[in-house]
Symmetry: C2
Subunit: 318 residues, 2 copies
């Protein structure tokens, strides 16, 4: 569901590329798109009973759609991977990054929540370090691509880029401020305590996935004029002391991580279209006890969304 969206499109390609054993593929979309053909398949609209006979349903169409329809898909016998935030913090719903906590899925689990994109990318790099040294504090500043807010974000940046080249200024309405030649320190909406919802997600979802309810997390989430792939500066504190070499060794063998050597600088363009998170710029810091600073870039449409969702389904069906 959400087959025409950015994540929906990636889901199709990831299933194909990884040889997921698809018998029959059905594509669902909004009423606007229903009847059109995508990947030689007619787009269907959701309706009562539509999930009957399906083994797995991926939801990638926003919270409201998932809240309304995911329970029905489950009750019709489907295994559901939900990319929205609808069920992530619900008790009993596993919030899964397969490299980290696949063990939280049981045979009875029928609904799995796919975490927030920034959270996945940060934790793929941090979980192996946590396992080795014990994570205590996490301070994250993000540099998030416009595709994280869907096609509208990509269209807004493209239009503003073209306007600049034509010598005009254009402020599209997709973001509260211009995004071309600018950065906007607000992703999602503001909450009462001054945090944004994205910053809140990064905190509570990290705590849930790592099973560290008391983990201290502070995030500043920022939209930047990048088309694809999120990045983040992470400053972290651990229980145990370690050397820079030990931290590097840990990431060198970590699943889903590609460690860049010191002189190689990971950027979101390097991470675009790549399944692994790219980590680099590792250095020790005395700002926190047993402190480490590092940089992570990762494709938030792949590992941050579609790839992670397919990896969850692989754990169940393969």
């Amino acid at each position: 569901m959400g087959a025409t969206g950015l994540v929906g499109q990636e889901l199709f390609h990831v299933l194909k590329k990884r040889g997921f054993p698809v018998g029959k593929l059905r594509l669902f979309a909004s009423a606007n798109s229903a009847g059109k053909v995508l990947h030689d398949t007619e787009l269907e609209q959701l309706r009562s009973g539509c999930f009957s006979g399906l083994d797995v349903v991926f939801f990638a169409a926003g919270s409201d759609v998932s809240k309304r329809w995911a329970p029905e898909a489950v009750s019709q016998g489907a295994f559901v991977v939900d990319n929205s935030s609808a069920f992530r913090m619900e008790e009993g719903v596993p919030l899964v990054v397969p490299e980290i906590n696949a063990h939280t899925m049981s045979a009875n689990t029928k609904l799995i929540a796919n975490p927030n994109c920034s959270t996945i990318l940060a934790l793929v790099a941090l979980a192996p370090l946590h396992e080795a040294f014990g994570l205590r504090q996490l301070i994250a500043s993000t540099y998030q691509a416009v595709s994280g807010s869907g096609k509208g974000g990509v269209d807004a940046l493209s239009a503003e880029m073209r306007a600049w080249c034509d010598g005009c200024t254009l402020s599209t309405e997709h973001y509260p401020k211009p995004i071309v030649l600018n950065v906007i320190p607000l992703v999602d909406t503001l909450l009462e305590d001054g945090s944004s919802r994205e910053e809140w997600k990064l905190r509570v979802e990290s705590q849930k996935i790592l099973q560290l309810p008391d983990l201290k997390v502070a995030a500043t989430c920022v939209r930047v004029p990048v088309m694809r792939a999120h990045s983040m500066a992470l400053t972290v504190s651990f229980d145990k002391s370690f050397s820079l070499e030990e931290a590097k060794d840990c990431l060198q063998v970590a699943a889903g991580v590609c460690l860049y050597e010191q002189e190689a600088i990971p950027t979101p363009q390097d991470a675009s279209g790549v399944g692994d998170c790219i980590a680099g710029r590792l250095r020790l810091t005395d700002v926190l006890p047993n402190g480490l600073a590092l940089w992570v870039s990762g494709d938030q449409l792949l590992k941050g969304a579609a790839l992670n969702a397919v990896q969850i389904a692989e754990k169940v069906f393969l």
Copy 2:
């Protein structure tokens, strides 16, 4: 000196705009530019004895030029404000942000170092909070504009923007990676411990300016595709506890700071051409003891360079 550069041009405009009582203005530039006319003034090349009769000389042409010529300017009786990093960490040379530590200049001081741009912008917002609550730890992630690396940076981003609009990809050689639709987590060169020189500057210059040699600082400095004005996400710990309102009240009355209300999101475009630093997104955090997170955007060619230099000269001459 450096009259044709980005900071040199701003110095001219700032002196004019603030009504600095200039008697005779002399403009110095490299051998390439000498003889050309700028602001109705013929550009001169530096040569032995050239500073004779000058009251104040601003250096904005890089470290090597300052190292070679600033001492000569001083010995010829001029007061020198040096925008380069040549003398910043030298004992006995005041490193001055006038709102914070003008008291470190004495009547005998003939050479003042103008701090690193990111450091100035961070400290204009942090110093009043430090005075009220006692700064203990500072974690900074920067979002730095291309004009911070001079005209070459602006030209590189402009060329890459136009290439994108023309449907080509162009990677200029000014930065190690493309800067359009990308972010590059390296500003200045890498040091042996894995930090960049810019990150090192932010740490040691903050310690010197605030006279806190043991202040814990960790920075991640990142170049972003913004033409003008640097931004930074700051996560800080203080000795004393305080409420969010007290922190806001403190910044509301701070010199050189414009506090944005919660719903107003400060961006580098809002800060471009503005003398004050724009601070916003204030929120308490439990990631650090007495923790606060905030966002600062500021024009690094103005308060981060030219304006701060002129304010230093005003303290001495006005």
